[in-house]
Amino acid sequence: MAVKLSYREYFKEEALPLMWCAGCGNGILLRAITDALADLEIPPHQVVVSTGIGCWGKADDYMKTHGFHGSHGRALAFGTGIKLGNPDLHVLALMGDGDALAIGGNHFIHAARRNIDITAIISNNFTYGMTGGQYSPTTPLSYKTTTSPVGVAEPAFDVCGLAEECGANYVARSTVYHVTQLKRFIAAAIQKKGFTVVEAINTCPTHFGRRNIPGDSVEMMEYVKNLSVPKSRYEKMDEEEKAKHLVTGELVNKDRPDFLSVYREINSVESESGRGEGK
């Protein structure tokens, strides 16, 4: 009997209420992920979430799948071992912008280059939420944070551009406002073999919002909504306008063979030709 699965198969309801602030989009992202898993009908025990450390890195506390909560910035490195240790698993690396791109930037670019079969789901709230709102490598230039009280002097990474440059098979950007699109991208990323990235532009009214966006949670959500534009519209913008926005949509979708396929192929050719005699 093929009963459609519910997000509740993956979501740990008894852990409610969530620890996150009012208006924090992490819960929305969590719902999108668990909904996507339900849509794909992947049994929870075939899923491992590998989280980083940060507000979003607390997501594993609310998941009923297998979970790994490691060290800051290393979700992909732990995830690489998890995946190679049992290639049948669906490994989801849930990372903040700090996790994925500051301290974890190296694992990110190498995972993409290797095309390891992991889905990275990045909550980009433009700041280190957990530690009190310092600037991150995605904080937009000149925005204020606790460590850039007059504005940050560093330009931000284009997370998706970086993933693409390094070779990810699937790269998409959405926001916690665009919830159905977000779920769709996550589902597509999980289904695709190889390294896949979904960047979810997220709200952090408490830190990023407080210092940069006059108003409340809704204003913060409005910012996220207005910041993002679909590809079709984005492409028609001039450079100046582009610089003020983030394009959303499926930005990369290809089928390079993933690391383990290549590894197995290369090594099997060899063992046929007589080496690797060990049983």
């Binding site: 409610l16 969530l18 208006g23 819960g27 929305i28 719902r31 406002y177 409340d216 949670s217 959500m221």
Partner: protein, 73 residues
């Protein structure tokens, strides 16, 4: 703890204990189904307008809303 706006085939449950008064459901329901009480808590004011799009449920960051279709079984 659950407020229910019942009409036609849709029931909307809001878990007051979970709701953190972010206002997303109120702001983003196209049908203006919700209204804020003085504390910021959403009240189901116009349940008859609800189209069961469930976006409010999906956008509630605190899993506080459940939109249920009742008569559809």
């Amino acid at each position: 703890m659950t407020k229910t706006g019942e009409d036609k085939d849709v029931t909307i449950h809001i878990d007051e204990a979970l709701c953190k008064r972010c206002g997303f459901c109120i702001e983003y329901c196209n049908k203006k189904v919700y209204e804020a009480d003085k504390d910021g808590m959403p009240l189901v004011k116009n349940p008859e307008e609800c189209t069961n799009c469930r976006l409010c449920e999906l956008r509630c960051p605190d899993f506080a809303i459940r939109v249920e279709v009742v008569n559809n079984e």
